[in-house]
């Protein structure tokens, strides 16, 4: 059963206050645990310590060791535990501290969680949520900085969400937990302390529904995760130069709301896709392909992709800064798309 209740954000009786991304995640998780007794959390240092990123602060106090489980460093067993428990009707939330660690448990995610419903002829569901911290920008180097959404979005049976601010961190987490499929929630490490308005009550954000974060007529910028904020900053800069860009936050990369993108592209005729992951084989490639397929006749320029170069994430801050796309590169890309002689 999937209940999706979008926040009545506009309603006056909803109390919204500024909350950090990590607190918003924590609040959504706690509310989802209150909502459904079958939700439990397992992971390394999630209970006693509250998570190395403070994602699970205070949850042990409220929910006790029955529902907050510290596990050994055994990611394959951790995800497998979630798969088995989900198959038996629970709604596990398992935490992979860093997204890079999916390398040691990929089988459970890709071959087990993702395919189980299908292989069982639909007889069961795997309402598993995997939370994990992704992204570069903290000098965490090659094995602690990756954005691997493209790996997962490629696997039928999985869903992948990428919260871009505190509001989506809460709403997408709640929807992920309520969803009857395995959903990977890719939190962004750099955004953990960022704040935005977050309603107090529980709310879900529909999976597979993109959000137009800013309207504009000149270029459509489709940005994933942290790049949404960068795109909005670029939009401010460009607006001062008379260029209005539209910023689309897909929020969910699997399923992907391409209709919103197509509609925007038909108006702007120019598209830039930006993500932190390496450009080659990234979501940008998929989005570009779909746009040329559905809206080819509306393009005035080839779809432009901005992503990381084809290299591991470098450690040295000078390299890392050059590696990760930012507002300047987005603005420059938009100008390039609009170039006329």
């Amino acid at each position: 059963m999937t209940i999706v209740k979008e926040a009545p954000a506009a309603a006056p009786n909803v109390v919204a206050r500024k909350l950090t991304y990590v607190k918003a995640f924590n609040e959504g998780l706690a509310q989802a645990m209150r909502e459904d007794e079958n939700v439990f959390v397992a992971g390394e240092d999630v209970a006693g310590y509250g998570g190395v990123f403070r994602m699970f602060d205070n949850l042990l106090d409220e929910f006790g060791p029955r529902r907050m489980i510290d596990t050994p460093i055994s990611e394959a067993a951790l995800v497998g535990l979630g798969v088995g428990a989900a198959a038996r009707g629970l709604r596990p939330v398992v935490d992979l501290m860093f997204m890079d660690f999916i390398g040691v448990c990929l089988d459970q995610i890709v071959n087990q969680a993702a395919k189980m419903k299908y292989m069982f002829g639909g007889a069961l569901s795997v309402p598993l949520t995997i939370t994990t911290a992704s992204g570069a920008g903290l000098g965490a180097a090659a094995q602690h900085s990756q954005s691997l959404e493209a790996w997962l979005a490629h696997v039928p049976g999985l869903k992948v969400v990428m919260p871009s601010d505190a509001y989506t961190a809460k709403g997408l987490t709640v929807s992920a937990i309520r969803d009857d499929n395995p959903v990977v929630v890719m939190l962004n490490k750099v955004l953990l302390g960022s704040t935005s308005e977050v309603p107090e009550e529980i709310y879900g954000i529909p999976l597979g529904q993109a959000h137009t974060a800013r309207q504009g007529s000149d270029v459509t910028v489709i940005a994933l995760g942290r790049m949404v904020g960068e795109a909005l900053a670029a939009a401010d800069e460009l607006a001062a130069q008379g260029v209005e860009i539209e910023v689309i936050d897909p929020r969910t990369v699997q399923p992907l709301d391409t209709e919103t993108m197509f509609a925007s592209v038909r108006r702007t005729n120019r598209v830039l896709v930006v993500h932190e992951a390496v450009t080659f084989g990234g979501l940008g490639a998929e989005i570009a392909a779909q746009i040329q397929d559905a809206a080819f006749d509306h393009l005035d320029a080839p779809v432009l992709r901005i992503g990381a170069p084809f290299s591991p994430v470098p450690f040295s801050p000078v390299l890392e800064k050059a590696y990760v796309p930012d507002r300047a590169r987005i603005a420059e890309g938009c100008r390039r798309l609009l170039e006329r002689s």
Binding site: Y49, I73, G139
Partner: protein, 336 residues
Amino acid sequence: MAQRASKKSADPAANQESAQVVKDLHERMVRIRLFETEAGKLMEAGRLPGFLHLYVGQEAVAAGVMAALRDDDQITSTHRGHGHAVAKGVGLREMYAELYGRVTGACLGRGGSMHINDLTRGMLGANGIVGAGVPIAVGAAFAARYKGEDSVAVTFFGDGATNIGAFHEGANMAAILGLPVVFVCENNGYAEFTPQSGHMLLTDVADRAAAYGMPSVIVDGMDALAVHRAAADAVARARAGAGPMMIEAKTYRFYDHQGVKGLRHPYRSAEEVAEWKARDPIDLLEARAVADGTATRAELDDVWQRTRDEIAEAIAYAEASPLPDPADLLLNVYSG
């Protein structure tokens, strides 16, 4: 078939050790200690980017094992790898330069703390993925035997790492292939903030060796000489073709899991920390050396002073080193 060795505590007959070995161990430990305390200070001063898992308190393990190795013996390390690198002889300049993200660093500024390596010293790399170094050491040992060399491979890992599949698969693989690998578990009692009792039911990690038909030995990880003796045995055994063996060194980290001071959540009691600090591995060795006349206080102090100077010089070198050029972002992604 490897025999199951009964666990034995270290034999306290340390007086037999030559003064040479004691001085070697002392020097290696002091180097590690000063490297780490200075790195910790630099990090707290905001001068070093990224994560830092410091080795302070565990020096006896790296020193004891490395003193039993040749340059061509290979090691694989962990996220807490500075001590292993220093003890194996990786240059302090290159290490600090790496922590600073300079192009003169051990990874050309690309890797940072968790990826320091030096092939010329047989250091096959720290590792950001817990347990990942274990199978790599098995492969290094395989290569040595394949090429007809008599070098061995040593893999370091924590207590927490023995819960991950790579450890178990690597141990069984080394055992069944009879490879010259020494498994060194540095049991500091914690995996991040979880005590050993919270992540395994065993008291001794060494018991896990039995599951793979591998002999094991437990040593006091604060006693450099004890570690060294056990390592020398295991290395000799492996070099002789008798297969892998595991050493469990009971030790303790004086700093927090990451950085110097833990910011929150007292997961270790003050008494526990104090108890272990009272058994500081360097103090223990120095006390014994002075007591049995292996070294004078002045000689020992001289080591500290010389090392301090060397560390200061290495830091100055790192700070003066150039940053990598962003134009070289694609460097070394592929060979050829």
